[in-house]
């Protein structure tokens, strides 16, 4: 019996690496600390009632942001481990197997469990306030999306201490990811972690499309929406067209591994290249999915801190929508070397060059927005300014890569690595940071400390260039991606060491951000105006943090930048718009079903990972049962009375 248990646990838990044992201990300690604190301070009911079961888009947004910052930490540690291993030639810090796992989890976590949830967090925090709505179209579904993301992310991260991490790269190309080459459970964690959170992403896409199309404040025509809302719409349309392909591709890989099907295997007539086509049909639109909202954020920030209307509104809308369309026609540029032939490569080279045009249009729009504006430079604006040159250079190296014949040289070299980190960090990460700084006072009611913010900004930016500029050169010198070490004779040493120093600078930048947040929670003054940046859009017209119903009276919108125009009118001595009488507000009730159902999904995933049908089948039954229970519930809403609205508004210092 004892031997059986020992056998089982040596298979079940990842063993043999002091780094992992350290992580085991810290995970257990953190869990114990959290449970003890919650029990000691009697916070369990508060946690359950106010957060875990909430359907309020603002709270769901906050949970997304917290989870994604934790994931940023994990992905960042992965990055620093890799950079440490590569700092000096022939180092033994990480074994090649461990290195494979780390670059795989780094990629998956940064794209799917950091960038995506941070983006969804910003959607949730901002979109309903931007369009003058009281919640999203489907608040229950919204909560379910969050919890599905969360259980997918937990399942994926668990592989690090239980069973073993996936190690076939962030897109898990077969045949390496097939059972024949990756017999362990790591690849199954990959499939189920992404699959479960992917379902959540799909539902978020649908939710926000309907929210934007149907729930805008009276009078807000499509062409009067804030640009961020347009960018969310274009991103969500891309989500609903791209994510189903991912769902199917992962399902097919699962069938290969679990039932011995032959979709992508080397034998039985399978076709591994089909996987690579399918995964990039999702994967390429995916990078636009995460970067489009960043463009929207920059548009809002550029207009606010230039005190000017956004330059070229219509061309911006056109650029966003054409990018989301064209992103579906460029996928094969990820594998020009596959041998599809000159004509196919020429087509995809051209589409890739064409998609750079709308992006260029946007850069000029931002520049002209700032041109002759009354500029100010608080942290959000700093990130915006840093983004432009960074993204322009990153975009141009992308155009270099799109030249198919030249790509045979660049393919899978550090030149490529430097390129996509430049657009993903310089575009997506900078954009979401900017958005977080910009909307922070709306969400929490206080600004973040500017001084620490500037420190974070400069360490991040200097670190970024020190880290990635040498990698372009390394790529041209012939260093390929995913090598765990290199010899002294290759001449890669100095540039790699420089790159590692840059990586650690970015790590320090992240620490500054954490410090900035903690410091600001303790010391920053509450913002009583609700409009600390002198903003232009509707969210700044209500108190911060926004009351549960957002708008006591739904605003009427007659022009773009409605709040700014209203403030201008009042400044010119006109009377503010007359306010209609307060009326009770209809709101959705909290629900525990999303978190329970996601728990069942977790069991399904975990069961299939270890081939434990005794766990997976009850899990599936649980999922079905939760859906039915929800279907049979008819009383899912309540009313907020006029007296309560009055009380809430008075507490925020407002009369209605």
């Amino acid at each position: 019996m004892w031997d059986k248990i020992k056998d089982f646990s040596s298979e079940f838990f990842v063993t043999g690496d002091p780094l992992i044992y350290g992580a085991d201990v810290s995970i257990v300690l953190t869990l114990v600390a959290v449970v003890t604190a919650l029990t000691y301070f009697k916070k369990w009911t508060w946690l359950w009632k106010d957060w875990l079961t909430t359907v309020d888009h603002k709270k769901i947004g906050i949970m997304y942001v917290i989870a994604s910052l934790l994931m940023l930490f994990r992905g960042g540690v992965d990055a620093l481990l890799m950079r440490t291993q590569l700092a000096v030639p022939e180092l033994d810090f990480l074994t090649p197997e461990h290195y494979n796992q780390i670059f795989t989890t780094h990629g998956v976590i940064m794209i799917l469990f950091m960038a995506m949830p941070l983006m969804f967090g910003l959607f949730n925090l901002v979109v309903p306030l931007h369009i003058g709505a009281r919640d999203v179209a489907f608040p229950f579904l919204n909560s379910l999306s969050f919890w599905l993301f969360f259980s997918g992310a937990m399942l994926f991260n668990m592989s690090f201490v239980i069973g073993g991490s996936p190690d076939a790269g962030w897109l898990a190309y077969p045949p390496l990811s097939e059972l024949s080459h990756s017999p362990g459970v790591g690849q199954d964690f990959y499939i189920w972690g992404i699959q479960i959170s992917g379902i959540g992403s799909l539902m978020t896409g649908i939710n926000f499309i309907v929210t934007i199309l149907k729930m805008r404040a009276p009078g807000m025509k499509l062409m009067k929406m804030p640009m961020f809302v347009w960018s969310v719409l274009s991103s969500c349309l891309t989500i609903i067209l791209a994510f189903p392909i991912l769902t199917i591709t992962l399902a097919l890989l699962f069938l290969d591994r679990y039932l011995g099907a032959h979709f992508f295997t080397l034998d039985g007539g399978g076709n591994p290249m089909m996987y690579i086509n399918l995964i990039w049909m999702w994967g390429h639109p995916e990078v636009y999915i995460v970067v489009l909202p960043a463009f929207g954020i920059f548009s809002e920030i550029a207009a606010t801190f230039s005190k000017k209307r956004l330059f070229g509104y219509k061309s911006m809308v056109f650029a966003l929508m054409s990018i989301s369309l064209m992103s579906f026609f460029t996928w094969a540029h990820h594998f020009f070397t596959m041998g599809s032939g000159a004509n196919v490569n020429a087509f995809f080279a051209l589409t890739t060059m064409i998609i750079a045009i709308p992006t260029g249009v946007k850069v000029f729009n931002w520049l002209f927005t700032m041109f002759r504006g009354r500029l100010s430079f608080p942290t959000p604006m700093m990130w915006m300014i840093a983004f432009i040159p960074c993204f322009v250079v990153g975009g141009m190296t992308g155009v270099l890569l799109s030249v198919a014949p030249a790509d045979f040289q660049f393919h899978n070299s550090y030149f490529l690595i430097a390129h996509f980190h430049q657009v993903l960090i310089g575009g997506v990460a900078f954009g979401f940071f900017a958005g977080l700084y910009y909307w922070w006072p709306k969400v929490f009611g206080f600004k973040l400390n500017e001084k620490l913010g500037k420190w974070a900004f400069w360490t991040w930016n200097i670190g970024f260039y020190v880290c990635f500029m040498p990698q372009y050169v390394l790529g041209l010198m012939g260093m390929t991606r995913r090598v765990s070490t290199y010899g002294w004779d290759r001449g890669f040493y100095e540039l790699n060491l420089t790159s590692t120093i840059g990586g650690f600078l970015m790590g320090i930048g992240f620490l500054f951000q954490v410090w900035q947040i903690l410091h600001s929670i303790k010391f920053m003054k509450k913002d009583t105006t609700g409009d600390p940046w002198d903003g232009r859009t509707l969210e700044w017209s209500i108190p911060s943090p926004a009351p549960v119903y957002n708008f006591a009276i739904l605003p009427r919108v007659d022009e773009a930048d409605a709040w700014w125009e209203e403030k201008q009118r009042i400044a010119q001595g006109h009377a503010p718009k007359p306010k209609p009488k307060l009326e009770p507000i209809h709101m959705p009730k909290n629900s525990g079903i999303p978190i329970v159902m996601s728990g069942f999904f977790f069991l399904v995933g975990f069961g299939f990972v270890f081939d434990w049908l005794w766990l997976a089948i009850p899990g599936l039954i649980g999922v079905a049962a939760s859906m039915l229970v929800h279907s049979f519930r008819y009383k899912t809403d309540y009313y907020i009375s006029v007296e309560e609205i009055r009380r809430t508004e008075a507490a925020a210092g407002r009369t209605v």
Partner: protein, 209 residues
């Protein structure tokens, strides 16, 4: 369009009366959301069809579809599913007339036809497996079982869903919520019918002719 869709517009005191109106708006949102879901489902099936077409010649020395498909059964399945789509349409017509009995009756007919379709499909699969074509026989059979099986899974979910709605109709009668649910499930059912027509044409017809 912009101002029609707010499901949480503030309303005057008489809750019951106006709650009804708000539900109406909310149901409209849900119906629209379901259309977007169908787009995603459509792309899932499109991906499966593409996979099937790419792998349709990869028999790896095993049996081909033309050798094993038995068309009479498949044609029977097709007619049964098409008829069930028609009866689900009749259910919606009965609902629009306010005829709850007719509505539930036609839904029962639809469910029975759907269940017959599933039984035939499962027995087809069992026969194929006995004849030596399993999901791991070749890439062709992997893609066949996955595509047709995904459709079958959708049908099974539809059956459970319809039964749940019938129970709710029994409890609550026809109101704005149940009306939306019937409309949504019938839309879903028609969608599965359209997908089946593609399955019939691309998988079975093209393979046997």
């Amino acid at each position: 369009m912009a101002n029609s869709g707010n499901h949480i517009i503030a309303k005057p005191q008489h809750h019951d009366e106006h709650a009804h109106e708000e539900h109406h708006d909310q149901e409209e949102l849900r119906f629209m959301g379901f259309w977007f879901f169908l787009i995603t489902d459509c792309i899932m099936f499109a991906t499966l069809f593409a996979t099937y077409v790419v792998l349709s010649g990869s028999f790896a020395g095993g049996p081909t579809g033309a050798e094993l498909f038995e068309m009479p059964g498949v044609i029977a399945e097709t007619f049964i599913l098409l008829t069930s789509s028609f009866t689900s349409g009749l259910a919606v017509l009965a609902m629009n007339k306010g005829d709850r009995k007719g509505l539930i009756g036609w839904l029962i007919v639809t469910v029975l036809l759907g269940a017959t379709f599933l039984t035939l499909e499962i027995s087809e699969f069992v026969t194929l497996v006995h004849e030596g074509a399993t999901i791991s026989t070749s890439a062709f059979w992997s893609s066949f079982y996955t595509l047709v099986g995904t459709h079958g899974l959708h049908v099974s979910i539809g059956l459970v869903w319809m039964i749940a709605i019938m129970i709710q109709l029994g409890r609550h009668g026809i109101n704005s919520v149940t009306r939306r649910k019937v409309k949504v499930v019938s839309l879903y059912w028609h969608f599965l019918d359209v997908v089946w027509i593609f399955v019939f044409t691309i998988v079975y017809m093209l393979e046997v002719i």
